[in-house]
């Protein structure tokens, strides 16, 4: 029995490390999208949800796990995980039902309820009142039961260890581990916002309006869910539960040891190329030194779109005009640059692809 538990712990700890967790979430999401009609069936999705509950409750027998999970700060994140799970299931389930109906030539579920209007007075107003009272009561009880933890007064000489951003920024903080601050903190967030604003202009698909569907909007929904689940929710989860003192990774059952030592040396592409591959010193001039990295970035920007147009985005390339396609591909390249750098860090201990501290340009 102890052996089984130890084995389970080992598996969970290994799978929770960012280098496995992020790819695992990605693969799980892709499989869900591919087999969404089977996965979202209550008798499949139900046990999966139950398994998550069993995992959380069972793991609470571990003191270290319980300590992190039940922190007043972290409880909303647990609720967030369940709400994301439920809402993604709900939308994909209804999409599956609608898509099946469409194949039989039937209208979507939403079209079968003739509900163009709602009764406002007193029906809707009463419902709203009840919800307002209920939520206010819930917030009041929450504030009394789980008070917001206050820390000691701020000091310039002492940064709390670990120093965590508000939960909704923990995905950004995780991105900052891999990229230079101006890229992960300024360029990428800007591109996320710009990309979301651009959706009405680049998504000209008129289908899926007012009803759930996946077949008719496969690309749009997949890209959104990958960005939201893998690069936002998963990173928030890692930042909340798995990043401890000194921003080291800690397994779900590990004790957050401030003195834990993790030997780690990150290296730049220039060092890999000149020192490790060519076995010579680093060139003096930065433009010679950083040439391999610059070539890689140019190749990523130039060959990436062509490769995408030929493979994954073949259909989209035919559908969209050249301007829209260029915008979509540019946004996608920015999105891909994040996991690309993460993989580089996990596999090769990569620090920067282009490293020009002389001019504050690091990629």
């Amino acid at each position: 029995m102890d052996n089984v538990l130890a084995f389970l712990r080992w598996i969970v700890t290994e799978a929770a490390a960012p280098k496995l967790l992020v790819p695992l979430v990605f693969v799980a999401l892709i499989l869900t999208l591919k087999y969404y009609r089977v996965v979202t069936k209550p008798r499949v999705a139900g046990p999966i949800g139950l398994l998550i509950v069993v995992f959380l409750v069972g793991s609470c027998f571990d003191a270290n796990f319980r300590k992190i999970i039940t922190k007043a700060d972290n409880i909303p994140i647990i609720l967030l995980l369940f709400s994301v799970f439920f809402l993604v299931w709900l939308s994909l389930r209804r999409a599956a039902l609608n898509d099946e109906a469409a194949e039989k030539g039937e209208p979507p579920l939403e079209a079968r309820f003739k509900r163009e209007t709602v009764l406002v007075w007193p029906d809707l107003v009463m419902i709203e009142l009840i919800v307002i009272v209920g939520l206010t009561a819930l917030l009041a009880f929450w504030a009394v039961g789980l008070p917001a933890p206050l820390e000691e007064p701020a000091s310039a000489a002492l940064t709390p260890n670990p120093s965590k951003a508000p939960w909704y920024f923990l995905g950004l903080q995780e991105m900052l581990v891999y990229y230079d601050p101006w890229y992960a903190g300024v360029v990428l967030p800007t591109m996320i916002v710009v990309g979301l604003m651009a959706i009405p202009y680049i998504d000209t698909n008129p289908k899926g309006n007012g009803y759930y569907t996946l077949v008719e909007r496969k690309f749009a929904i997949s890209v959104f869910l990958i960005g939201f689940i893998v690069f936002w929710i998963a990173l928030i989860t890692i930042g909340t539960f798995l990043r401890g003192p000194n921003w080291n990774f800690f397994g779900p059952y590990d004790y957050w040891d401030v003195h834990m030592s993790v030997p780690l040396k990150n290296i730049n592409i220039s060092e890999i190329f000149w020192v490790k591959m060519l076995k010579q010193g680093m060139p003096e001039a930065w433009y010679v030194r950083e040439l391999p990295g610059i070539v890689m970035v140019i190749a990523f920007v130039m060959i990436g779109p062509l490769l995408l147009a030929k493979t994954v985005l073949k259909k989209l390339f035919k559908q969209l005009d050249i301007v829209r396609f260029s915008v979509v591909v540019t946004l996608l390249l920015f999105m891909i640059s994040l996991p690309a750098k993460m993989l580089g860090r996990w596999l090769f201990n990569l620090k920067y692809v282009v490293y020009i501290p002389e001019y504050f340009i690091n990629l």
Partner: protein
């Protein structure tokens, strides 16, 4: 045929509001009297009594006083009375306080400086390192067991000589100007900083040879 608009009357508006219909286009709007008969146009009350004059002066006086005071407070705000920043140039004591291959945290809290006695490029030197992480400005911790500075915010790591080697920090920690004062003690001058990536660590002002 163009319809002659000058004689069109808006009878519906008149019915609803009780105001007699006005022939559109027959009158210049500026000349029309918008007042119903019997009412007088607005006139500023005259300052007929001394009491009214008093209250007017008092009102403007209070308003002016409040305005002047807030401008004065704003100007005063620009010149803080007590500088809370620690001195930019401070004495760190005798060089013997910092034995070879150590990092002193004695001035971290008061001046945000580590005094290090480390070997750098084959030379044993004393230098003052800034406690501000070059990634996003958190304060790293000195881990004596690992002989490194480790930032709690994003996991950047620096060797004892200040060179970055792990995590996202793009450049080494900054050095401050350091020299031996007239009384033989170490003086750190935080107004001048030296950045390794600009080749400034070769500047003799950025370190003093250890004894």
């Amino acid at each position: 045929m163009v319809k002659d608009k000058t004689h069109v009357t808006d009878s519906r508006l008149g019915e609803r509001t009780g105001v007699p219909a006005v022939k559109k286009g027959t009158q210049d709007p500026m000349e029309m009297d918008p007042m119903p008969e019997g009412s007088t146009p607005f006139q500023a009350p005259e300052l007929s009594t001394r009491r009214e004059a008093f209250w007017l002066a008092a009102g403007w006086g209070v308003f002016g006083w409040a305005g002047l005071t807030s401008v004065g407070m704003l100007v005063r705000f620009l010149f803080p009375g007590a500088p809370f920043d620690p001195a930019q140039v401070f004495s760190a004591g005798a060089p013997e306080q910092f034995p070879n291959n150590t990092v002193s945290e004695a001035f971290k809290k008061s001046n945000q400086v580590w005094i290090c006695n480390q070997e750098y490029e084959g030379q044993q030197i004393l230098f003052a390192l800034s406690t501000i992480c070059t990634h996003l400005g958190c304060t790293p911790n000195w881990l004596d067991g690992d002989q490194k500075f480790k930032c709690p915010c994003h996991g950047s790591g620096f060797y004892a000589n200040g060179i970055n080697f792990e995590g996202p920090a793009p450049r080494p920690l900054e050095r401050f100007r350091i020299f031996i004062g007239d009384d033989g003690s170490i003086v750190v001058d935080k107004t001048k900083k030296f950045q390794q990536e600009k080749g400034e660590w070769a500047d003799p002002d950025s370190y003093i040879p250890a004894v």
